[in-house]
Amino acid sequence: ADDEALAPPQMIPLSVMLDWYPNPVHAPILVAKQLGLFAKRGLDVDIQSPADPSVPPKLVAAGRIDLAISYQPQLHLQVDQGLPVVRIGTLIATPLNALLVRADSGIDDLSQLAGKKIGYSVGGVEEVLLAAMLEHHGLTLDDVEMVNVNFSLTPALISQKVDAVTGAFRNFEPAQMKQEGVEGKPFYIEEEGVPTYDELIFVANRDTLNQHRDAYRRFMDAIGEATAWIINHPDEGWQRFIAYDPSLDTPLNKAAWNATLPRFALRPAALDVKRYRDFEAFLLERGQIKSQSPISRLAVDLNAP
């Protein structure tokens, strides 16, 4: 009731599209909404989720929605393709991406992947990331067989239709495997020769950014407050999270919850320019993008003077 009393009379509508169905990585957004942190700042936030992660940035670029959750590697491709999108905040500040094998596979080192079948999900950059990891261990893409298994990463690995999967989320898929009674073993890609990056970011339309800058600033402010609150109160945070949608209350989500907490960006609006420079250089070097972009086209710090 206090929050409402403080709310300005005119609420600003803001549409946010997640990258996928709601899951623990989205906790700061969902919990901020639950706690009324958006409303407190005069924002009326509408949360939507797509079935195809490649869609939200396009809708942002087309002006159909205000903010979308996307991935940093994707951002570079999007900007390179001329989409007027720009990163305005970070949700998860490390890679979540991991290469996953069965713990009982005997694979201790990625050089053992030679001749193996590797499944991956739709990513767009999975091949490059894998290539970098393989080269780090003296292999090339030609030494493995890649299969696009779409959204069936875990089943494909558990049932041994593939020997490894890449593009798995380290906070999610290992828990999922465990639930099915199979121990998984992740290789963290930033330890295997890939430059580190922000896994989940908020993107906005660059062309209309200035009109909305203030609203976005308040939005990121709310996210920051929600993140801090979740980390301070993980159990209460969980309760708020599942209150958003009771069907979220599953053992798997619970397991993923704990694995996700340490990965939230504590200063979501802050920008680490070097990450964007380095990763862009990495993609450029591998021919994934055509040219280098000024940093301001890629990412902004909303609070920068």
Binding site: Q48, D52, V55, R64, I158, Q176, E180, S247, N253
Partner: protein, 269 residues
């Protein structure tokens, strides 16, 4: 000596009774048995194919969730079915009516059919947003083609004699189309309607995959992403029930709409 005493007497009653619900029930039991057999025989893990029992439990436990989402999907299916049938019929009639249209519209129709809907999804979402309409549109698109296609085929094949009769009666082309060719195409159209009825739920579900925050399709994808395969299959079961209900409903409606056909079918059944 050949004796055919009372060979063909009084059969309709029996067949009539076994129509619809009973038939479906029988099939359902068979299906569940087959399902369990597959699991037992192949040892397929439960995260790929859960047991009927697990799904039944999910059906009961998640009934509120399922009911809520089922209502949404039912609306989409019904809306899509009605819209698709109307649009399909209109297309079939236009194709039959206007010759120049045929040469160009027919391939366009085919193209529309051959494009995986997912490719169009972002475009549709861009134009229509995330509401009920894109899903109804998807269901319509799926239903549309069988109706248009069989309807057109049926309209083309009107026996010449009736067309001649219509000519001497001084009917306009429009009258001929609606009063002669259309009823004559009913059996063929019925074939398309039955097919459409069983495909309608898929249309709605695909629509939901393209973007939704409720509905059985949403629930399925969502549950699948979370590896709650039992919930996913529970949603699937509800969806299949819809498809069956729609099919048998349409089938009954078709029978009612073709009373002259009934005797013949029963006689030769």
């Amino acid at each position: 000596m050949s004796d055919s005493t009372a060979l063909h007497a009084a059969r309709p009653g029996l067949i009539g009774k076994l129509h619809g619900p009973t038939r479906a029930l029988l099939a359902l039991i068979l299906l569940i048995a087959a399902w369990q057999a597959v699991i037992t025989l192949t040892g397929v893990p439960r995260y790929i194919l859960p047991s009927p029992l697990a799904v039944a439990r999910a059906l009961v436990e998640q009934r509120a969730l399922l009911a809520h989402n089922a209502l949404v999907t039912a609306t989409e299916i019904l809306g899509g079915f009605i819209g698709g049938v109307l649009l399909g019929l209109a297309t079939a009639l236009s194709l039959a009516r206007f010759r120049p249209l045929r040469r160009t519209l027919l391939p366009l129709l085919l193209i529309s059919q051959a494009i995986p809907l997912f490719a169009l999804a972002p475009i549709l979402m861009l134009w229509l947003g995330y509401g009920l309409w894109p899903k109804i549109l998807m269901a319509m698109l799926i239903i549309y083609f069988p109706v248009a296609s069989t309807g057109y085929d049926g309209l083309r094949q009107t026996p010449q004699g009736w067309l001649d009769l219509a000519t001497t009666f001084g009917l306009s082309r429009r009258q001929t189309l609606l009063r002669v060719q259309l009823p004559a195409a009913l059996p063929s159209l019925a074939s398309g309607l039955r097919m459409a009825a069983s495909a309608a739920p898929i249309g709605a579900v695909i629509g939901e995959w393209v973007g939704a925050s409720q509905g059985l399709g949403y629930l399925m994808l969502n549950a699948n992403a979370r590896l709650q395969i039992d919930v996913m299959f529970a949603a699937l079961v509800v969806l299949v029930a819809f498809a069956l209900a729609l099919y048998f409903g349409i089938d009954a409606a078709i029978r009612a709409a073709m009373p002259w056909h009934r005797d013949r079918l029963e006689a030769s059944a």
